[in-house]
């Protein structure tokens, strides 16, 4: 069987999980309005359905990690650096958001947006992280 190129596998995998994500979000929305054959929301199913949209998010992260693993050494090195920098930016923004929310009237928990903040950070820093070398001195 012919093996897909890493970027092709990544594109297909990511798209498939995003379709699953949209389906899960819609399903959860209908479930919590009591509009599915499952009836009105009640525990423990309520928690399972609430968690459902997060499963595809985990899937996309696995797809990305596999893409990094299957790429050549240069792509792996820069993707790893971008992943680390984006994670740092995400931690900073999420924490800052939490503090601002504690002391002000700012709405939301911030946690809902963690994944989105990560990918926006990743996209913004990517053009600046194109060098696999750690330059010292």
């Amino acid at each position: 069987m012919k093996t897909l190129k890493p970027v092709t596998e990544y594109t297909i995998g990511f798209a498939a999980w995003m379709v699953a994500y949209v389906a899960a979000v819609f399903f959860a929305g209908y479930y919590f309005r009591g509009m599915t054959p499952l009836g009105l929301p009640q525990a423990p199913l309520l928690y399972a359905v609430a968690l459902l949209p997060s499963i595809p998010i985990g899937g996309t992260i696995l797809v990305f990690l596999r893409f990094m693993d299957r790429s050549d050494e240069y792509m792996r090195a820069i993707m790893t650096r971008r992943f680390i920098v984006a994670t740092g930016v995400t931690l900073f923004i999420s924490t800052a958001w939490g503090f601002v929310k504690n002391y002000t009237e700012m709405p939301g928990s911030g946690l809902d947006y963690t994944y989105m903040i990560f990918w926006i950070s990743f996209a913004i820093i990517s053009p600046f992280v194109r060098d696999s070398k750690v330059r010292t001195a």
Binding site: S71, D72, E73, Y74, M75, A77, R130, D131, S132, K133
Partner: protein, 67 residues
């Protein structure tokens, strides 16, 4: 790390995509090595040396060797 890869590749009449294909890496990897944005692993350096049938130090200057 100073490299003569770009000159050697041109002399050999290879495009970046050709060389990438011979090495089993992406074209971006070849571009990054030629523009000193990536120091290749020892394994990749040996693969590059094998393509041009040269010792590694004829392609990548050893920054630690004096004289």
């Amino acid at each position: 790390m100073k490299t003569h890869l770009k000159a050697l590749r041109s002399e050999a009449g290879l495009t970046q995509a050709d060389l990438a294909g011979k090495l089993g890496v992406s074209r971006q990897a070849v571009i990054a090595i030629e523009s000193d944005k990536h120091d290749p692993s020892l394994d990749l350096a040996y693969r590059i040396a094998a393509v041009f049938d040269l010792p590694v130090e004829a392609i990548f200057e050893n920054p630690h060797r004096t004289g």
